[in-house]
Amino acid sequence: MNSSSDSTPAVQLRDITVRLGGRTVLENMTLDIPRGKVTAVMGPSGAGKTTVLRLITRQIRPDGGRVQVGDVHVESLKGRELGRFRRNLGVLLQNGALFTDLTCFDNVALPLREHTQLPEALIRRLVLIKLQTVGLRGAADMYPRELSGGMNRRVAMARAMALDPDIMLYDEPFAGLDPISLGVSLRLIREINHAQGATSIVITHDVDEVAQLADFCHIIANRQLIASGTPKELNDSEHPLVRQFMRGEPDGPVAFHYPASDLAEQLLRAPVR
């Protein structure tokens, strides 16, 4: 995946259309993720941010368009090729998705044991180093149920980077974190990106955190990419939708209410049931 030159984007989505359950989630969307940077993909709830992640990891195929990671055309991958491709991805899912019947140590060791022939002594050292990076070496023998949600996500982060992947993907890494865990997570994502020289993609809707973390941002809404730029450029944008999203305004192009009939008419109507 690293064979492309540094100037070419690490991930390219070209004219992507995705339909899920009869609904068009993305339509002819084109988006580039720069190599070696932390890029945030933002947007209101239901805008298709996680769909972008699932396209890159080839959990879903687009109905139209092309997904390219390095030199690899992801949408056509299957079987062993897909397995090889995914070994170069580190994915942090929204709730961590740790295996509850394994200790933190065994969770982090799992990809190393499955995909390498390393001796157990070396795996032990690697796992302890990864856990040290996320500050949880002391919790190596504990089970996920014994840790807080934030700690679970840090262990999952250690597991995601166990094989030193070229691309790290984070799905809503800041959701529900207390201020300390949030600060630690921000620092960790930055450090991992810097130390591993990886490309990091953060799927989020937390505007303040993105301003501190990301080198580059994309905003997705209404099935399209509506803006791209540095956090500062997006903050200064006069685009009505970008402004509404960045400032958290209820009124604007993105409707707060799900489409429904007239409120007064519905309240006064006799109940059907």
Partner: protein, 256 residues
């Protein structure tokens, strides 16, 4: 009045589900791999599915033997054939009751727990996480549980039969005063190793595969919600009981 479309779906939906479950089983079997990690995981599952089912198997086996002997002894004594109780007990156990009841108890104890575990793994994205780490969930999750069920059920059938015979001895010999030599002698004279015990064990292997297959299938296809997992566990018990009873009839007819 039901519409033609509705009655058609009533017929087609179960057929479609059966087809899906069969495809799932073939996929699981075709992707089996026997690495050191797989063997270790299979042994762990064997402990959870087999060893942890021992309490219910031992208890139920003992009481089934006790009640079966009580009823048979009473009925046979009316015809002056109380000595035949042990023959009736052993033949019913080895041929039918042992394999069938053990498989249904296994579905209730271990099958539901396998279904709930896999359903919750789907709901909490653990199966997605495996996929994303390029680890095949079929290999890592399904295969060890399938093999564990295949080994555990025949072993549990032996335990069930032994405990039921013990229950029979307690009632017939210790409570009713039957001669223990006649009790064991009749079993030795009438029960054939291949025809009676062997056929029963053959059934238990098939039932073990069915019970573990349906448990992993319903867990795998469970909707990732609390309601979905609850429904899947119920389906596991119902489907296993129906399939086991149906196959028992078919196999008994073919083996006789």
């Amino acid at each position: 009045m039901s519409t033609p479309v509705r009655s058609e779906s009533r017929v087609l939906t179960p057929l479609r589900n059966m087809g899906r479950a069969l495809v799932f089983l073939f996929k699981a079997i075709s992707r089996m791999r026997f690495t050191r990690l797989q063997v270790a995981e299979t042994l762990r599952q064997l402990y959870f599915a087999g060893v942890r089912s021992l309490v219910i198997i031992v208890t139920c086996g003992f009481f089934v033997g006790l009640v079966l002997t009580l009823q048979s002894y009473d009925a046979l004594a009316r015809f002056g054939a109380a000595d035949a109780t042990s023959t009736l007990l052993a033949l019913s156990l080895f041929r039918e009751l042992g394999p069938v009841l053990t498989a249904i108890l296994f579905a209730g104890r271990a099958g539901t727990s396998i279904t709930a575990e896999i359903g919750l793994m789907r709901a909490t994205e653990q199966l997605d996480a495996l996929d994303l780490m390029a680890i095949d969930p079929m290999e890592r999750i399904v295969q060890p549980r399938l093999i564990a069920g295949l080994i555990a059920v025949p072993a549990l059938v032996v335990v069930f039969n032994v405990m039921a015979l013990l229950g029979g001895v307690v009632y017939a010999v210790f409570l009713m005063g039957s001669d223990p030599i006649v009790f064991w002698g009749n079993i030795q004279n009438t029960v054939e190793l291949g025809r009676d015990f062997g056929h029963g064990m053959g059934k238990s292997v098939v039932f073990g595969l069915v019970a573990s297959w349906l448990a992993v299938y319903f867990g795998w296809t469970a909707k990732p919600t609390g309601e979905g997992v609850a429904l899947a566990t119920t389906q596991t018990v119902i489907a296993t009981a129906i399939v086991v009873l149906f196959l028992d009839f078919v196999m008994s007819a073919l083996m006789l």
